[in-house]
């Protein structure tokens, strides 16, 4: 158990509304990631963080922003949700930046945009 929690676990929202998803870790790891999982695509990286206030884009970052003001929390924001952002969102952490380092995942947030 890597001590990762995500909130909320489920959310239904309407198109055009802002949404923020939270990832919280208890083990002080430097690297945190946000992925989305969609049928036919597997998991795709949205954004990641390599330290407090240090973030970078992933493969599918359009329409998303992130913030990390403290080590334990990594927030994913949809500024204006669209139906194409209906997905399951997973947060992950890795314990260091070494090449052979596994990532450990949270339980996921299921987001539905109507």
């Amino acid at each position: 158990d890597a001590g990762i929690t995500q909130s909320p676990r489920h959310k239904v929202t309407e198109t055009g509304t802002p949404v923020t998803l939270r990832c919280h870790q208890t083990e002080n790891h430097r690297y945190m990631y946000w992925y989305r999982q969609d049928p036919g695509h597997g998991l795709r990286l949205i954004h990641y963080s390599y330290g407090v206030k240090d973030t970078d884009k992933g493969e599918v970052s359009d329409g998303y922003s992130v913030s990390r003001s403290k080590t334990e929390d990594f927030l994913l924001t949809l500024e204006s949700a669209t139906s194409s952002q209906t997905s399951v969102y997973f947060c992950a952490i890795s314990r260091s930046g070494t090449t052979n380092n596994e990532q450990f995942f949270g339980p996921g947030t299921r987001l539905t945009v109507l």
């Binding site: 990631y33 597997g42 052979n100 596994e102």
Partner: protein, 117 residues
């Protein structure tokens, strides 16, 4: 463009038999590969990994084989058990970490394994 591919969306196997899950990749810069297992309503959990300097890695009932020249890897589960029923994702890492030191995983689309009692 999908750099990691799992061409079989599903696989059914009898309990006690071998399960073989396949994965292909296109990016020759990948040099570390991982398998994750995912149950419904849970996050993926790490299962086993292999470095490109090896062609086999074994952990209990799970063995991963890597054929670098063919850009192909496979996960063998022997013997298969009903509790192994899940979606299995293959993932790959690039040879060099990014400038930030983070490791960006590239995932396949997953194979749903059903082990029939």
């Amino acid at each position: 463009d999908q750099q990691v591919k799992q061409n079989s969306p599903s696989l059914s196997v009898q309990e006690g038999r071998i399960s073989i899950l396949n994965c292909d990749y296109t990016n020759s810069m990948f040099d570390y590969f991982l398998w994750y297992k995912k149950y419904p309503a849970e996050g993926p959990t790490f299962l086993i990994s292999i470095s490109s300097i090896k062609d086999k890695n074994e952990d209990g009932r799970f063995t991963v084989f890597l054929n670098k020249s063919a850009k192909h890897l496979s996960l063998h589960i022997v013997p298969s058990q009903p509790g192994d029923s899940a979606v299995y994702f293959c993932a790959a890492l690039r040879a060099q970490p990014s400038r930030t030191g983070a490791n960006n995983l590239f995932f396949g689309t997953g194979t749903r394994l059903t082990v029939i009692p």
